[in-house]
């Protein structure tokens, strides 16, 4: 993912997940470069996106 503040590109696993202060989680990742809080893409959106990615790859583009 790309940090909405500093533009740093990182994997979700690299960032710090939330700060633990919210009940139910805030679905956010803190950027490892600047610590800005970035919302995680909802699972449904990820699935739709991966579907499109697969289609594109199969199409050989």
């Amino acid at each position: 993912m790309k940090c909405g503040y500093c533009g740093h590109e990182f994997e979700e696993s690299e960032g710090k997940k939330g700060c633990g202060s919210c009940r139910g989680g805030c679905n956010s990742i803190h950027c490892p470069n600047c610590n800005y809080k970035n919302p995680i893409e909802p699972a449904l959106v990820k699935k739709i996106r991966s579907l499109f990615d697969n289609t594109t790859k199969k199409g050989g583009v």
């Binding site: 503040y5 500093c6 533009g7 740093h8 919210c22 009940r23 805030c26 800005y36």
Partner: protein, 657 residues
């Protein structure tokens, strides 16, 4: 540095490669491409800076890959840079990969020279070549490799281009002798030689590099030299001082000019840019946003259209009117009240669910009818602005002002996040460099930064009377600056340096804005709904036991002293649970016509200044300790009440509202 070296133990069988370079040049992408999924991230000993490590097999041997924090030079300024340098010094990597951005080759190549000069086993990766080519830049990598005397690889790691060559360059790297191909002017070389001749002991970096760092007044290198040669250090230190005196403290400038000359010589005929550089529209807008003369009016325009027109008039006006008044109050609440009353025979339970402070008629009405539309429109505005890349430019714009209040542009991150949620933003203040900065930022967040819901409700509330909104905005800005300024005087110290690499400005993408807004609204709703319901239950308990009435009576003189009617005590009691709940209470009072413009303004200012919620106070306690949190809590409450009192007197005397 020796101490931290002692603490660490490294396997001798495993080789190490360190990735170094400026922030945002693609180090982490390269790190992931080299290591795969199995990485460990831990704080570097004695610091809060995280360092990622992962393993890989190259040319049949196991290697540890270290992703160092961003650094601009071996002469360090920030904690991240210090950690990156310590890794080079203490962990003696077998290969150092310097990753730089091809588009900024001229600016970043100076560090490559420093690394080579330091005698480190450097491989240069000229990254983001795809973008550079798109811009029409031409780089003769073979010639650059010849001139630098180290392997140079062109790459676009985000597109997986060049990864195989990088893997092969690491695996087959053979260290040559320390290169002395970069020479400075005769006078500087003479100064360096005089310092080098007085250095004794064993060092990881070359003596020439260390001599330059000593002449740049590098305290850590000073300590290293003292440890290596306690007897001769005095002479060495005296020589460094003598050279500094002769150069009238202009050493850093001289060195920087010389390195710039070296880079231009290196790049002559190697780097060709298109004859006429055409600034794109986004680059022109970017320049306008960071220059004070154009940046401040632009900021005001953004706030006017984004906050006042969109969040205030549209969100808090049109949408709340539709959802709360026309749907919940006029249709849904009468229906649900009738239904509950017909099913539940006990009046007390009816009161709990659909009474004056009922869970549905107050708690859910506030959460869904008032807060949700306001927060939703605020987050649309926030996500839109975020996606354009405006926030880092705001950091640069306010950096100069922030210096007066003991902060730097770096503090823009917690401040901007505070407009979303102050509690989380307080936690983010831990990323600021000094304790002084952290305390000042915590104080200002608790005092003068309203969270999204509160900001939206207040803008919606006061936008009916633009004068009131203006007074509220001036009060907040003034208090932010004055309290920050005083806090910076009470806690003396220097504000640290602030550097930031600006990502490009871009057209916001609808998909990004929708996704980010959705996630933020979801988080906020999960956060507030149970609290609003709990607050309704407590208020109901207070009402049935008579405690609530007693509290209102007790608070009446306090309310009267700042010119507010008795009924506002209810909003302030709501505000005790959460400031946004209190702001929604004020919204309710305004719609009932119980407050004039002056009273609304005083109430809005006073309520905004109080600590937002119990959760924020607890986070303040965790982050800053009981003592500081209590001082801030008491101080903020006194300032809130005192400001309300003074503002009321001022408005009464001047009659401007």
């Amino acid at each position: 540095m020796e101490k931290s070296l002692d603490k660490m133990t490294f396997s001798e069988t495993i080789k190490r490669v360190a990735l170094v370079g400026n922030p945002n040049v693609g180090k982490s992408v390269l790190f992931n491409a080299l290591t795969g999924a199995y990485v460990t991230v831990s704080n570097y000993p004695g610091t809060s800076v995280e360092v990622a490590r992962g393993n890989t097999v190259l040319d049949g041997k196991e290697w540890q890959v270290i992703d160092t924090p961003g650094m601009y030079s071996i002469h360090t300024i920030t904690e991240e840079e210090r950690v990156a340098r310590e890794i080079l010094l203490n962990e003696s990597p077998d290969v150092v990969i310097h990753v730089l951005d091809a588009r900024n080759l001229e600016r970043m190549l100076a560090m490559t020279i420093q690394l080579i000069e330091a005698g480190l086993p450097v491989v240069l990766v000229v990254n983001i070549m795809d973008e550079a080519e798109r811009m029409g830049l031409k780089i003769d990598l073979a010639e650059l490799q010849k001139r630098l005397g180290i392997p140079v690889i062109g790459a676009a790691t985000a597109r997986k281009r060049g990864i195989d060559q990088i893997r092969s360059a690491i695996g087959t790297y053979v260290k040559g002798p320390v290169s002395d191909r970069f020479t400075y002017s005769d006078s500087l070389e003479k100064d360096i030689a005089e310092v080098v001749n007085l250095m004794k002991g064993k060092y990881v970096l070359s003596r020439k590099c260390l001599a330059l760092l000593l002449l740049q007044q590098d305290d850590e290198i000073n300590d290293v030299c003292r440890e290596q040669d306690p007897v001769g250090f005095e002479k060495l230190s005296a020589k460094v001082k003598e050279i500094g005196f002769h150069r009238r403290e202009s050493f850093n400038l001289d060195l920087s000019l010389e390195r710039r000359r070296m880079v231009s010589d290196l790049l002559a005929g190697v780097f060709v840019a298109p004859e006429k550089r055409v600034d794109t529209l986004s680059e022109r807008i970017s320049t306008l946003t960071v220059r004070p003369l154009t940046g401040v009016p632009l900021l005001l325009i953004v706030l006017y259209f984004g906050l006042y027109k969109f969040v205030g008039e549209f969100g808090a006006g049109t949408v709340v009117d539709l959802l709360e008044k026309q749907f919940l109050v006029e249709i849904f609440n009468p229906w649900i009240t009738g239904l509950v009353n017909s099913i539940v025979p006990w009046e007390i339970i009816q009161e709990l669910i659909v009474g004056e402070y009922g869970i549905i008629t107050l708690g859910i009405r506030y959460a869904v009818g008032i807060i949700l539309p306001i927060v939703a429109t605020f987050f649309v505005f926030f996500s839109f602005l975020e996606d354009t890349g405006y926030f880092p430019r705001l950091a640069l714009l306010v950096d100069r002002v922030f210096k007066y209040i003991g902060l730097t542009g770096r503090a823009v991150i917690p401040m901007v996040l505070g407009f979303g949620c102050d509690t989380m933003a307080t936690m983010v203040t831990r990323t600021l460099e000094t304790t002084r900065e952290r305390i000042i930022a915590t104080l200002l967040l608790a005092l003068a930064i309203p969270c999204s819901a509160q900001l939206g409700v207040i803008i919606g509330l006061l936008s009916q009377s633009p004068g009131a909104l203006m007074v509220w905005s001036i009060c907040m800005l003034l208090l932010f600056l004055v309290v920050g300024f005083l806090a910076a005087r009470i806690m003396p110290g220097d504000a640290p340096m602030f550097y930031m690499e600006l990502p490009p400005m871009r057209m916001p993408q609808l998909g990004n804005v929708v996704t980010k807004t959705y996630t933020r609204i979801q988080w906020y709703f999960i956060e507030i709904l149970p609290l609003f319901i709990l607050a309704s239950v407590l208020l109901w308990l207070g009402k049935v036991t008579g405690f609530f009435e007693k509290m209102i009576n007790a608070m009446t003189p306090l309310m009267a002293s700042i010119g507010l009617p008795k009924e506002t005590a209810v909003a302030f009691i709501f505000g005790f649970f959460r400031r946004d709940y209190g702001a929604a209470g004020l919204y309710d009072l305004q719609t009932k016509g119980l407050m004039d413009a002056r009273q609304l303004t005083v109430a809005a200012v006073t309520l905004t200044l109080f600590i937002p919620c119990v959760a924020q106070f607890l986070v303040m306690k965790n982050e800053r300790g009981w003592k500081v949190a209590s001082i801030i809590g008491v101080g903020v409450s006194l300032i809130a009440y005192g400001s309300g009192y003074l503002l009321n007197q001022f408005l009464l005397v001047t009659g401007i509202l």
